[in-house]
């Protein structure tokens, strides 16, 4: 089969291919690093919209009837857009489109993605998806208020805000996003499988790459369910088919639909929706592992276990989806099956948490900003994971379903936790992009504000959930079983949320300020071993590696190797070039270093 051998991009160092004009360099760029930054900036910008929306929801909940511009419809629209933007357009896009793009070629030792043009198309298609999504704020009726789960029949019936243009734009935007993701995802997977540099075996890849790799495969297999259900719902809405629509009496009128299955949509949505949780979690797992290893100067504990745990979680995530549907009236045996699989996922997941802790244990922990966020992540993730174990059981979920306990759970586990890792990752890799550190003092402030603020927001929510405060409610009204004190709790949550929101502005300021004025970092400031820090130019230029691709001789975690002179050995250092301390005999009388 060797007649199919490729001319690796490595052997095509053709200077004439470097882009020169502003347009080809920064706008229609095919360089994975530029595309990564385009993805990141777009994702963060649209994420700020989602943050503002959450602030407005909190204002309404904390101080009902004070803000006239938030009516019940607007509240539902905010909930929906906030949830969808956060999950898809921020986290998925930033973790895979942003970090995936930036880190994959650099960490596996490739010059670029295997199909750079497709990669560029991926970004611009994503950009289009964002525009279509945001357009729904400006059409008549506004964006859809169906909740991020978009359950039919209500999503497309009158009574739900944005039932005409809003829901269609949402579905169209999702479909476009999926096309964009597919173009990018095919690139990521193929690059990781086929374009690794010499010596970079799969089992030497940093865990970041493993996380991104498995998450991308999950995306390629899970997004089809969302795509198909979006298509079917568009048909139900626009041409009056009845895929998801049973015979219905709406506002006293019999509708033309009959015979469809709303439950079918729930199955399809969660067949996508649960793996989606891991699409954002797995890259985060990977990145946090690397951050912890680098900043604790210790090899990751149980590398191989970590890899198999990622793969196992990825596989299992396809057989647990109906734990989101316990209240849909499913057969108890199904409930039993899905509860069991859900609890099984806890095994590889807990294993990962133990391994992070054991990596820290007796490590040489540097409490840098990335490390602070990584430790914060271990807290929030464990916390959200434990409530997940509770909700995975049918009998516990039934009373808690659709209460604030669920809101608290998923914010801890898939909202705050990946965001913590994103912050860790941004503080960690910022010097690679810019050659400068993010400001440390602002960073500390950002961390403590976010970490403590998060707990101030979400801990009380668990309690509200136990009281029975329902999710997606504009106001609690005068309900007997909810005590007065719940309202004061809500007010305090809102104050915390506003503070957390403002703290993020400091982070944005830090990003912009440090890009131009930050302290110079020099090469490889964290003394990391992985390849992205060992490029010919710093920060890496177009083509990444200059004349020659690096050769890899070791895994990514040679930190504090016994008797080695430095406490880290980069992956591309040959065994001969490793400097060792002298042997015991000749070492007599010297200070141990």
């Amino acid at each position: 089969m060797s007649k199919f051998a490729n001319i690796a991009i490595a052997d095509q160092v053709d200077e004439s291919k470097h882009p020169h004009s502003f347009m080809t360099k920064y706008i229609w760029s095919q360089d994975h690093k530029v595309i990564a930054i385009q993805y990141s900036i777009t994702a963060i910008a649209v994420g700020l919209v989602a943050l503002v929306l959450s602030g407005m929801m909190r204002l309404q909940l904390g101080f009902p009837n004070e803000f006239s511009f938030i009516d019940p419809s607007a509240y539902l629209q905010f909930v929906t857009m906030h949830g969808m933007i956060m999950v898809i357009y921020l986290l998925t896009a930033l973790l895979l489109g942003g970090f995936g793009n930036y880190l994959i070629p650099l960490m596996v030792g490739a010059r670029d993605m295997v199909f750079p043009f497709l990669n560029m198309l991926s970004y611009w298609t994503y950009f289009l998806a964002v525009l279509v999504l945001l357009a729904s704020f400006f059409v008549s009726g506004g964006p859809t208020g169906a909740g991020w789960t978009l359950y039919p029949p209500q999503a497309i019936l009158s009574g739900t805000p944005g039932e005409h243009a809003g829901i269609l734009l949402m579905l169209a935007s999702l479909a476009i996003f999926i096309v964009a993701f597919t173009m990018g995802g095919l690139n990521y997977v193929t690059t990781i499988l086929q374009a690794r540099t010499k010596g970079m075996t799969l089992m030497r890849m940093p865990l970041t790459i493993w996380g991104i790799f498995v998450a991308t495969i999950l995306g390629l297999l899970a997004f089809p369910a969302l795509l198909v259900s979006a298509i079917m719902m568009i048909f139900d809405k626009v041409i009056g088919t009845s895929f998801f629509m049973p015979a219905i009496l709406s506002l006293g009128e019999t509708l033309d639909h009959s015979g469809g299955s709303p439950i079918l949509f729930q199955h399809l949505f969660w067949f996508f929706g649960h793996p989606e949780v891991y699409i954002v979690a797995l890259p985060a797992f990977g990145m946090v592992s690397d951050v912890i290893a680098v900043h604790a100067r210790k090899n990751i504990f149980g590398y191989r276990m970590m890899v198999w745990a990622i793969v196992a979680i990825g596989g299992l995530s396809f057989v647990v989806w109906a734990h989101h549907m316990y209240v849909s009236g499913m057969n108890p045996y199904f409930g039993f099956f899905f509860a069991t699989t859900t609890l099984i996922i806890a095994i590889p997941t807990a294993l990962k948490v133990y391994n992070w802790l054991l990596t820290l244990w007796r490590g040489n922990i540097h409490l840098t900003i990335p490390m602070l966020f990584a430790i914060g992540f271990i807290f929030t993730f464990t916390h959200g994971g434990l409530t997940g174990l509770m909700l995975g059981n049918v009998v516990i979920d039934l009373p808690l379903s659709d209460t604030y306990f669920v809101v608290a759970h998923f914010h801890m586990v898939m909202g705050v936790s990946p965001v913590m890792v994103l912050f860790a990752a941004i503080y960690h890799w910022f010097p690679l992009l810019t050659g400068r550190f993010l400001n440390n003092a602002l960073g500390k402030f950002h961390f403590w504000g976010t970490f403590l603020g998060t707990y101030a927001i979400y801990l009380p929510m668990h309690y509200l959930g136990f009281l029975g405060v329902p999710r997606r409610y504009y106001a609690m009204g005068t309900t007997d079983f909810i005590p007065e004190s719940a309202q004061s709790l809500n007010a305090s949550i809102t104050v915390s949320a506003i503070i957390v929101g403002l703290v993020q502005l400091i982070f944005i300021f830090n990003l912009i300020w440090s890009t131009f004025k930050g302290k110079k970092s020099g090469r490889n400031p964290w003394q990391a071993t992985s390849l992205e820090w060992q490029t010919a130019h710093f920060p890496p230029g177009h083509g990444n590696w200059g004349e020659q691709l690096p050769n890899v001789y070791r895994w990514a975690y040679d930190f504090s190797v016994p008797r080695a002179k430095d406490d880290f050995i980069p992956q591309n250092v040959t065994p001969e070039d490793v400097a060792y301390l002298d042997t015991e005999e000749s070492n007599k009388g010297r200070e141990p270093s």
Partner: protein
């Protein structure tokens, strides 16, 4: 002497199969484009599986009767009522086109440009005639039987909805395939792959065989059930 226990993959405790597969450079001995096509097709398999699962689901959820496939899909030719005749021809054509495609790939690797181009054009032509017949079938269902995605005089609404959606989606795949074939055939003809090699023909072939394979499932689920 050296502390690098990780540099040598022979010392790994994993089986040799795994270490072979996870060795450096390429995990699969094939061009990048080909692997990418495989992964895309895997993803597309999920798309079609979900379409077909949804179809089965609504077929069970609807309370109205499902039209009998030997009735709706029958043609009356010269006074004879022949069930499934059109679809038999369509299926035959599509499977034949897989044959011509396979031959095109074979000739491509032999470096026989002329034959490759002819066979790819033949494949495209067969694909186009499939689309033509599908258009004919749709017209018959819509005009003669009065079936619409939103309504069906013969019973369940979901029949028209699922049928038009899924065969339409497949038809789009075939149409895209025809265009893809023609573009690549033209480029082969222009000699653009003389130096690079002809893997692209095989990649095109993969897509085409996939579309044919999907048809077999659609055929089984719609016409034989």
């Amino acid at each position: 002497m050296s502390g690098n226990k990780h540099q040598n993959k022979d010392t790994s405790s994993l089986q040799s199969v795994v270490s072979d597969w996870s060795a450096d450079k390429q995990s699969f001995d094939m061009p990048w484009g080909k692997l990418m096509m495989w992964i895309f097709l895997l993803s597309d398999t999920f798309v079609f599986s979900i379409f077909l699962t949804s179809y089965m689901n609504v077929r069970m959820s609807t309370t109205a009767v499902w039209p009998s496939s030997s009735e709706v899909f029958a043609l009356t030719i010269a006074g004879h009522h022949i069930p499934l005749v059109l679809i038999a021809i369509m299926t035959f054509i599509l499977i034949t086109s897989s044959g011509t495609m396979a031959m095109a790939v074979n000739y491509a690797y032999q470096g026989n440009k002329q034959k490759t181009v002819y066979l790819m054009m033949a494949t495209a032509l067969l694909g186009a005639s499939f689309i033509g017949m599908q258009a004919f079938e749709w017209t018959k269902l819509i005009v003669e039987e009065g079936i619409r995605p939103w309504g069906n005089p013969l019973g369940a609404n979901q029949f028209g909805a699922a049928f038009f959606m899924i065969t339409g989606f497949h038809g789009l795949h075939v149409s895209a395939g025809v265009i893809y074939l023609l573009v690549i055939a033209k480029r082969v003809h222009q000699g653009k792959y003389q130096k690079k090699g002809y893997q692209i023909v095989e990649i095109t072939g993969l897509y085409w065989h996939f579309v044919d394979l999907v048809w077999v499932f659609i055929f089984a689920f719609f016409y034989l059930w």
